[in-house]
Amino acid sequence: MPTIIINDEKIEFKEGMNVLQACELAGIEIPRFCYHDRLSIAGNCRMCLVEMENSPKPIASCAMPATDGMKIKTNSKIVKDARHGVMEFLLINHPLDCPICDQGGECDLQDQAMYYGFDKSSYKENKRAVNNKYMGPLISTIMTRCIHCTRCVRFSTEIAGVDDLGLLGRGEKAEITTYLEKAMNSELSGNVIDLCPVGALTNKPYEFQARPWELKKTETIDVFDAVGSNIRVDSIGKKVLRVLPRINEDINEEWINDKTRFAIDGLQKQRLDKCYIKENERFQETSWKKALDRIILQINKTSSKNIMTLSGKLSDVETIFSTKMLFDNIGSNNYECRIDNVRIEPKARVSYTFNTGIARIEESDLILLIGTNPRWEASILNARIRKSYLNNNTRVALIGNKKDLTYDYEYLGNSLKILEDILNEKNDFSLLMKESKKPMIILGEAALARQDGNCVLNVCRKMCEKFSIVDKNWNGFNFLNSSISKIGALDIGFYNESFSADVQKNIDKFCSNKESVVFLLGVDEIDMDIFQNSFVVYIGHHGDRGAHRADVILPAPAYTEKDSLYVNLEGRILQAHQCHAPLGDAKEEWKIMKMLGDMLGANMKFKNLHELRELICLSNELFREINVLHKNKFSTFGISGEIIESPIVDVINNFYMTDPISRSSKTMAECTSDILKLNKDALIPND
């Protein structure tokens, strides 16, 4: 390995590193503004200057490749003076308005000015002022503070893949803006707030809400899509104020999408915090005892064959497991998680997980997207595909609805019939499949939530076998799931095989013409009319469609208010933590199930969360290992049959509102009206 001498100490480094990275290896921190390890190098802030032997001037360490035998000094007088000088230059036009700046307390400029700057300036001239720019409902701008590091521009061009931000003008007139001050048209736009080293781009909904040191910081998991991004939730009392990404190289690197970051104001609205019983078509507030008694009464009146439960988009593993336990105990196996009618094979884990793993997308050389819009169903995963497209020259092809996915792809059409052609080598794409070393197919929910879903699955499996998509070290078969609850529910066995042929129809049949009791675990995305003859118990946290239909409402905590396990689309077990106590009277679902079970004389074999988790692990050993990607054995799945010629219908038509929390969010409503319309009218009109 090559070595570099930093401050008279020999350090080994890897080929291709720059001097700044080598210094980091030596444990020396180099101040910086423009350099960011996930973005291209700009070298324009000059804060990272160090002294290099035989160089007449100090060098920008971020832009200088480290070479064998190089001698670097980071603690000399020259370096100290250089840092002073750069700092003074950066502050010539900076307004120094820290007391009214949201970045205060977590500002790179503030911190570095303290460590590396000095306390005077030779400039007495007027500072320049820059008009603030509109960048949409999420990003607030105070452009006078901008130091032109261009991190935001590089992020939007490179990672987010939308050429929206730019640096106009030059010199003293340089300004960051979007073209004609349109909102930034990206699902990842919020990340520029974290990247901006100063307070020029800040979180608009969080504006002037709190100082960083007042916040309670909880490390947890995001639930708005099935990626399971690692997040940090900052809260004060019972209010969540903001969400930041946590680094997890395997999942979200250090990005999160805008729904994850900004939908949290929905946690304050439309909340169910009391028990309710419907009497004469009106909800009456009531106590836990009365509500539970009412439910027990109804259960006792009903044959256990006629009791059913459905899990919703955001249900955690504990909820689903304890519900299943209750149902097994009262002799009903009518539990179901596949209400979206997606025809995966519940017995073959490989058929319903993202087997390649998010991180290994980067290794793939060919990706076939089938009936999915990853940009909306899993924005973070889409960013990986883009990364692979940029760095690995990955070719992407799409069967489905044409969309701007932030990378180029080959459009094969909007018919699943094409899959049969590819399989039978009647399509040119077959050749690419054959030649590819690490091909991936990504199957979306839209491709399987159809009458012929099983056949589509079957053809895809055959493709895997034929084109060596699956081998010892590579599993290129992927199902892209969009709700965080689904895989956990399947892993636990929260489904009824007799429903499998057509889940929606069978649920419909189950409910029609007979009195039944239905437990909805936060289910809102289903046709509520089918419950006409049912007694509906809604357990959840938002007064959305499910709650409106309910006969009894039991309040439960939202994802930030409980300790729970989730399983992400890769099948990775993730652990979420409670940020604050549940609102009002809400109780964790597993506690509710325990109470109901005890009242019904069922044998609920746990007393607390710890025991419950132990039971979960006993039922499925996978749950013992947190944040581990398991290899699923490839097996047969799907049913042979003919694929029907009909266009694919996307599952998400509004990225910003997909679940009860984001539907209640004002910020998400603004995004819907401000950003979504940009997607519709293309920026360059055709003439």
Partner: protein, 198 residues
């Protein structure tokens, strides 16, 4: 600093509704693009912007910028960055005669200040402003590389050198009256040859 239509970041002026290439320019564009590698046609952005500016009467409208972006399959903001970076691209309408007065040291020592003053007075407008008759925009610029014949101005594509207030005034008047004017040195100097042999 004085106002200059090439040094603004915004297009605020009432904008024309469209811009489309003339047949002739379309042919020119093909020729220009041909000079660059197939996958790098965006490198042609400066000559194409220049073409658009010429076609559009000396300035780039929003639609012209969008058109250039489309012609080169670039995002608009990238074109906008280039257009705002170079002061030679004007983002506001300019007069038929775009007068750039050099004000860097050699010209300044030889009286460029006076030229500016007289030009302002003649056109009755401030620097960077479009005159009422739409014939003139006067701006000050840095060295145009003809210092040996200082002071000098550039009007559209031509240099006028060895000026003084009266000569400049005459040139401006002639331009206003649509008369022909002679470019280059105004005192009979050949290129940058010394006037007297020493």
């Amino acid at each position: 600093m004085s106002r200059h239509p090439g040094l603004i970041n915004k297009t605020e002026f009432p904008q024309p509704d469209n811009f489309s290439w003339t047949e002739e320019n379309l042919r020119k564009i093909d020729k220009i693009i041909d000079k660059y590698p197939k996958k790098r046609i965006q490198s042609a952005v400066i000559p194409i912007l220049d073409l658009a500016q010429k076609q559009n009467g000396g300035w780039l409208s929003q639609k012209a910028i969008e058109k250039v972006a489309k012609t080169l399959s670039m995002s608009i903001i990238r074109v906008m960055e280039v257009a705002t970076f170079y002061s030679m691209f004007n983002l506001e309408p300019v007069g038929k005669n775009f007068v750039q007065i050099c004000r860097t040291t050699p010209c300044w020592l030889r009286g460029s200040d006076k030229l500016t003053k007289i030009a302002k007075k003649f056109t009755k407008c401030e620097l960077g402003q479009l005159s009422e008759d739409k014939l003139f925009t006067i701006v000050e610029v840095e060295c145009l590389g003809a210092c040996c014949n200082a002071p000098m101005v550039q009007i559209n594509n031509d240099y006028y050198e060895d000026l003084n207030e009266n000569i400049l005034l005459k040139i401006l008047e002639d331009l206003k009256n649509n008369k022909d004017v002679k470019s280059g040195s105004q005192i009979g100097r050949i290129n940058s040859k010394p006037l007297k042999q020493c």
